[in-house]
């Protein structure tokens, strides 16, 4: 790719000066080396330093730069800018309060993540060396532990939009299953009790937006299905 100009439509809102949010039309000339949407945003910020967004690792592992890109949630750093129809519409992640421009308040998202007790529970005295785990048992964690907490999934989920305070959401439930599936964890029963509720788990209606948007290719719906199976199995 050579130099080219790219058109954007970006959600702007600064509570210090704007009565209400608006969509800003703006374009920027990209260098040949600018490949990802994040490269373009960094370039845009040189032109207009008031444009606000989170970013850090620029390689898809820190989860900072999740946003709604042409109507679909994704990470700016893993999205090829030239693959996007123009003008490229950028909005903050849906369903969470906007603080400024593309920056959302993620309190509710993390509250749900914390609510599933996202840590290993094993009250036996720790052995001298590592707890043993077979490679097969370890493989059960693949597709679960890689979550980067970017919130693309939960903020694309209509059930999370309606009940962000009551429904744990796909990211939190994926984490819940990550610990249930870990042979070293002893709290499966308590973890299931914690989700036994009309909202926390069962608001998932397998719409599967979460799977569609996950930038790490994870499948929260499958994990949720497995938790539901365990619920059913322990009921009979």
């Amino acid at each position: 790719m050579s130099k080219r100009t790219v058109q954007f439509k970006i959600y702007r809102y600064d509570p210090d000066k704007d009565q209400q949010p608006y969509m800003q039309d703006i374009s920027v000339e990209l260098e040949a080396s600018d490949k990802k949407l994040l490269d373009a945003l960094v370039r845009l910020k040189v032109v207009d330093d008031t444009l606000s967004f989170r970013r850090s690792c620029r390689e898809g592992v820190c989860g900072s730069d999740a946003m709604n890109i042409n109507g679909k949630n994704g990470l700016a750093c893993l999205t090829d800018v030239d693959s996007l129809a123009q003008p490229i519409a950028l909005r903050p992640l849906p369903g969470l309060p906007v603080i400024r421009d593309l920056i959302v308040d993620m309190t509710q998202f993390f509250k749900q993540y914390h609510s599933i007790k996202p840590y290993l529970i094993n009250d036996e005295p720790a052995p001298e060396r590592e707890r043993l785990q077979t490679p097969e048992d370890r493989e059960e964690l693949n597709g679960l532990y890689e979550c980067i907490l970017c919130a693309c999934c939960s903020t694309s989920c209509p059930s999370f939009w309606w009940n962000p305070d009551k429904f744990v959401g796909p990211a939190g439930l994926l984490a819940a299953y990550r610990f249930i599936a870990d042979t070293r964890d002893q709290a499966t029963s308590a973890r299931l009790d914690n989700l036994e509720d009309p909202y926390r788990l069962f608001r998932c209606h397998t719409i599967m937006n979460c799977v569609d948007v996950c930038p790490k290719g994870l499948n929260p719906t499958r994990a949720i299905g497995k938790i539901k199976d365990l619920m059913v199995r322990r009921a009979i």
Binding site: K45, S52, C62, F179, D185
Partner: protein, 597 residues
């Protein structure tokens, strides 16, 4: 201006691996602790570490901490302090096993133990053959580690101040550290965090270079704050250029790729590392591999239309093994190099990766400065750990997987020291000076009112290009001398940066301007320390200090076996001795020798 004050037993700045590990120690001991972090903890750059954490568990091949210590001292080109290195290598098994108990999803061997892979510079029996010492979770070890540490802190009810940027260190007239000022990014408000103990765990400053594997947030905030508050910076001329950054993008490709059997090739397809390191070949230490790659490129054997990179080849590995052990690398190669490494080699080039120097500490995590004739006098109330600190275990060159080990060992050690000092009553809440917040408020006021100033972007770019050109993989006397002038000019420009964004809410332009102040301190320290060191050692290699019989590897142990200390006031340099004596009598000092792999 009225500034809110918050009082804690301890304040930790930074919530990457070192900060989180220290926080656990404090939270579990019941200290009232505030952890300040400018990003949500799991977004810290520890998350991007890939290949593993070193520990001589010996799960697959025989191993012990003596061998690990030898490799680390040799890797450091004897600039590492042998007491701190012994401490780290002896503690490795303990901290890695703890992490497993916290829930870290390590890969497993067939008998259920932690999976280990070979890594550069790590050997068995004092350099004889590669050893399997790197404990790994696929190629996502840092991610798995950072999340496990965060999760354990959730369990321990650690109090985080998320998206708060620390601005300045507060010291009293005696030089004791009393806490920090910090800005809440959402509101722009500045507060004082007044504490009995302050631990810096703010990571490195790889963003001083144009081409870096580091995240945008790696701006050396703690290092800059310490320097401005009069603390010297140690061994800042030593920067690690990782051999395998994706050409053009800078994104890291782990050395674990070579640990799993990957081979570096030049344009003729030759495995050129056989010529430079006949024994460990592609798994020689990083400074050696990076220099070999640059030599290949400089001598016209680079690859691609511009002959500006070499190739990292894993096409001979089975696709199953690549998918199992290196899945993240495959994703990165597809995303950032546009190639699938199962089918084609990855274009790579040495890229700035790690800051070996930093805030001087001892192995207990106390910040130490020269005072009253003692080169290592502890600063009351001040501790540091991880990449921002210099213990010094990495000396002139760090071995891969020793950084994750460093942050576990010294994060824990700093935490333990604070808890000990607290319980023994050695730590007191000392009165704050009236002027405690003045420096920070003045910095903000200047940014508010600056007219006709410099663009933050332009100044930062000038700094990065200067560092890249004048203090790179190979260093030249004339370029270093010119580099000092250039970087001082850039530092002058940085005093009048101007931002257009005047909002109080999430003003990222302001954050970047404040970060630039920290980067500039690091850049000056690096260039000035590098210009002054008239020898080659580890990652600092000058063309006028070549490998000779009298000076193996270009090292001048007679005159330069010493740590640099740079003070920002007057850009003054001092030196202090390297500790060549181990911590205990269990091991003999590792004697100086020529470094070959």
């Amino acid at each position: 201006m009225n500034v809110a004050k918050r009082t804690f037993d301890a304040v930790i700045v930074g919530a990457g691996g070192a900060g989180l590990r220290a926080a656990l120690q404090l939270s579990e001991a019941g200290l009232r602790t505030a952890v300040l972090t400018k990003v949500f903890p799991t977004r810290s750059h520890t998350v991007a570490a890939q290949g593993g954490v070193a520990a001589s568990l010996g799960n697959t091949t025989e191993d012990n901490w003596h061998w690990h210590m030898y490799d680390t001292v040799k890797g450091s080109d004897w600039l590492g302090d042998q007491d701190a290195i012994e401490f780290m290598c002896r503690k490795a098994n303990e901290v890695v096993v703890e992490l497993e108990h916290y829930g870290m999803p390590f890969d497993r061997t067939d008998n259920g133990k932690i999976y280990q892979r070979p890594f550069g510079g790590h050997s068995m029996n004092y350099g004889q053959a590669p050893v399997m010492r790197s404990c790994a979770a696929a190629d996502r070890t840092g991610h798995a580690m950072l999340h496990a540490l965060y999760q354990r802190n959730v369990r321990a009810n650690t109090q985080f101040f998320v998206e708060w940027m620390a601005m300045d260190l507060i010291r009293n007239d005696d030089g004791d550290v009393l806490g920090v000022t910090a800005m809440e990014m959402e509101t722009g408000e500045v507060s004082i965090f007044h504490a009995k103990a302050t631990i810096f765990a703010t990571g490195g400053a790889g963003r001083i270079y144009y081409s870096s594997t580091n995240a945008f947030i790696n701006t050396g905030d703690g290092v800059g704050m310490a320097a401005r508050a009069g603390i010297p910076l140690e061994d800042m001329e030593f920067w690690q250029f990782h051999p395998t950054g994706v050409a053009g993008a800078g994104v890291l490709i782990t050395e674990g790729v070579r640990g799993e059997g990957g081979i570096l090739r030049n344009d003729a397809g030759e495995r050129f590392m056989e010529r430079y390191a006949p024994n460990l070949k592609d798994l020689a230490s990083r400074d050696v591999v990076s220099r070999s790659m640059v030599t290949e490129i400089n001598e016209g054997r680079g690859c691609g239309p511009d002959k500006d990179h070499v190739l990292l080849d894993i096409t001979h590995l089975s696709p199953e093994n690549i998918m199992k052990r290196l899945p993240g690398i495959r994703e990165i190669s597809i995303q950032f190099a546009g190639i699938d490494p199962i089918k084609a080699p990855i274009p790579v080039v040495p890229t700035c990766h790690y800051q070996m120097g930093g805030i001087p500490t001892n192995y207990r995590g106390q910040v130490v400065v020269p005072k009253d004739g003692n080169p290592n006098s502890p600063v009351v109330g001040f501790y540091a750990a991880g990449e921002c600190a210099c213990a010094s275990v990495h000396g002139a060159n760090r071995l891969g997987t020793n950084s994750l080990l460093d942050l576990l060992v010294f994060g824990k050690s700093a935490g333990e020291t604070v808890v000990d000092d607290f319980k023994s009553g050695n730590l007191m809440l000392k009165p704050l000076p009236e002027t405690a917040a003045d420096v920070s408020l003045a910095r903000i006021a200047r940014l508010e009112s600056q007219k006709n100033g410099e663009s933050v972007h332009e100044v930062r770019l000038a700094m990065q290009r200067t560092m890249q050109k004048h203090a790179g993989v190979f260093r030249f006397d004339n370029l270093l001398k010119e580099g000092v002038q250039r970087i001082l000019e850039v530092a002058e420009r940085a005093k009048s940066t101007e931002i257009k964004d005047k909002s109080q809410v999430w003003n990222t332009a302001r954050t970047e301007a404040l970060e630039l102040d920290n980067l500039i301190e690091v850049a000056k320290a690096t260039m000035i320390s590098a210009e002054a060191r008239k020898e080659s050692r580890g990652a600092h290699v000058r063309d006028d200090a070549p490998d000779t019989a009298e000076r193996p590897n270009g090292r001048d142990d007679q005159n330069w076996l010493k740590h640099t200390l740079w003070y920002t006031a007057g850009n003054r340099l001092e030196y202090k001795p390297v500790n060549l004596k181990p911590m205990s009598a269990d091991v003999e000092p590792i004697a100086l020798a020529k470094r070959t792999y």
